[in-house]
């Protein structure tokens, strides 16, 4: 297989996997962060 094709395939798989993993992490953590930010604002 052509080296460049292999590079594209590997980078694409790593990129998509990282995107899914970090998106999930940010979403889960972001919910609690936004909730506490809004709570702080309501208290102020």
């Amino acid at each position: 297989m052509d080296v460049w094709k292999l590079i594209w395939i590997v980078v694409l798989i790593v990129g998509i996997a990282s995107f899914i993993y970090i998106s999930l992490k940010v979403t889960i953590r972001g919910f609690s962060e936004v909730r506490s930010l809004l709570k702080e604002m309501t208290e102020v």
């Binding site: 395939i9 990129g15 998509i16 996997a17 995107f19 899914i20 940010v26 979403t27 936004v34």
Partner: protein, 403 residues
């Protein structure tokens, strides 16, 4: 580099220019940053509107109306809500965007096949489809230019830098960088997949800006169409709002506040920041309606951002690692670095001819990649010359900031 800057406890990179060099260097750096920022923001609105028009099959005559509605929505929620509204809406928009991006990519792979996509791209463009070195528009000069450009963006571009500088501590800062680099890899590659899919589906000659939304609108079923539209709308809105807030803050913080003897009250800062959000929003609209992109949006953004990056990188690196770097060198670095991209931007805007017919002096002189590489080299040359030659005022020199 990022860790060293974070240890200085500053909020904008232009503050560092004053801390290490002088108020004048801060003002010059901030002026170039605002010019680069507003020029890049100018095309975002048009790209967003072209996407909406192509994706929803609205007649192209409504393009300007779409742009006007988009800018009004984003300016109103940025002005009324400020930073908190931008943070909260950015988060909600992120979820929508991430989900729709992944679903869209899945549909593109279903349409062309994962491995089939690469084969079809090769049959369309030949070897240059996957090999950037053999591509006539890219090659090594582009790889060098893009590498230096991307490194500069991590620390010099205010919307990115503000995340870095606001991190709780330098260790957390490093962790953010590691995580976001992987995220950026995915974020960059997913739209590339859509672009390849569009080129295969519509043919290589189809307009690059309009092709991708047209292709996606044809392969998505009802329901996914709506989700994707909301996701892309979210991406466009959150980018525009972050940028509006970043550039208005830079104008107030770095261009107005340093000249006020008694400073500006918090209320005054908020008022001015909102005022500049409205002014920049109006400029975005006027620029978007008037300006016609002659090359791809990617190339345009590279050129206008280099106006600030080319000198900024030299000023930052020399300030952190070179004791002899001085104010005169910093001025020369900014001026030398900005000459070529600024001359090209002015020439490009002055010649408002249809795509492919622009043959200005700067365009003839150097290829876009060489222009970029040379601009960064000129930035470092300016810093070296200014700091080594005995023209600078010795009183102007400050010792390297202790970190």
């Amino acid at each position: 580099m990022v860790e060293r800057v974070r240890r200085l406890e500053i909020m904008t990179i232009t503050e560092y220019f004053e801390l290490r060099y002088s108020k004048g260097v801060r003002v010059l750096g901030a002026s170039l940053l605002v010019v680069a920022g507003v020029l890049s923001l100018g095309v975002f609105l048009k790209l967003g509107a072209v996407f909406v028009v192509q994706f929803t099959n609205i007649p192209e005559t409504y393009l300007h109306l779409t742009m006007t509605i988009l800018v009004i929505v984003v300016v109103v929620y940025t002005v009324l809500g400020g930073m908190v509204s931008v943070v909260v809406t950015d988060f909600v928009q992120f979820i929508l965007l991430a989900l729709s991006m992944l679903i869209a990519t899945l549909f593109v792979f279903t349409q062309h096949g994962f491995f089939g996509m690469f084969q079809q791209a090769e049959s369309l463009y030949g070897k240059a489809a996957l090999n950037p070195i053999s591509h006539p528009e890219y090659g090594w000069s582009f790889i060098v230019y893009w590498s230096v450009f991307a490194i500069s963006g991590c620390i010099l571009w205010q919307p990115v830098a503000q995340r870095v500088l606001a991190a709780q501590n330098p260790e957390l800062n490093k962790a953010i960088f590691k995580a976001t680099s992987l995220m950026f890899l995915g974020r960059a590659f997913l739209p590339i997949v859509w672009g390849i899919g569009a080129a295969i589906y519509l043919g290589a000659q189809f307009d690059a800006t309009a092709g991708m939304p047209k292709f996606l609108s044809e392969i998505f079923p009802v329901g996914i169409l709506g989700l994707f539209m909301a996701g892309m709308f979210a991406a466009s809105m959150s980018t525009d709002s972050s940028y509006l807030l970043a550039w208005s803050s830079v104008i107030v913080q770095d261009l107005i506040a340093p000249f006020r003897k008694n400073g500006i009250s918090d209320q005054g800062r908020v008022f001015l920041a909102r005022l500049f959000v409205i002014i920049i929003g109006a400029l975005m609209l006027v620029f978007g309606i008037w300006y016609e992109l002659k090359d791809t949006a990617f190339r345009y953004l590279l050129d206008v951002t280099t106006i600030y990056y080319a000198g900024g990188l030299a000023v930052l690196v020399a300030g952190l690692y070179w004791k002899r770097a001085n104010t005169f060198g910093a001025y020369l670095a900014f001026i030398f670095g900005a000459i070529l991209p600024l001359a090209y931007a002015v020439e490009d805007m002055a010649i408002q001819s249809p795509a492919g017919e622009t043959v200005g002096f700067v365009s003839r002189l150097l290829s876009p990649n060489m222009r970029g590489v040379l601009s960064f080299a000129l930035g470092f040359l300016g810093m070296g010359l200014g700091s080594l030659l005995p023209f600078g005022d010795p009183k102007d020199q400050k010792p390297a900031v202790k970190i």
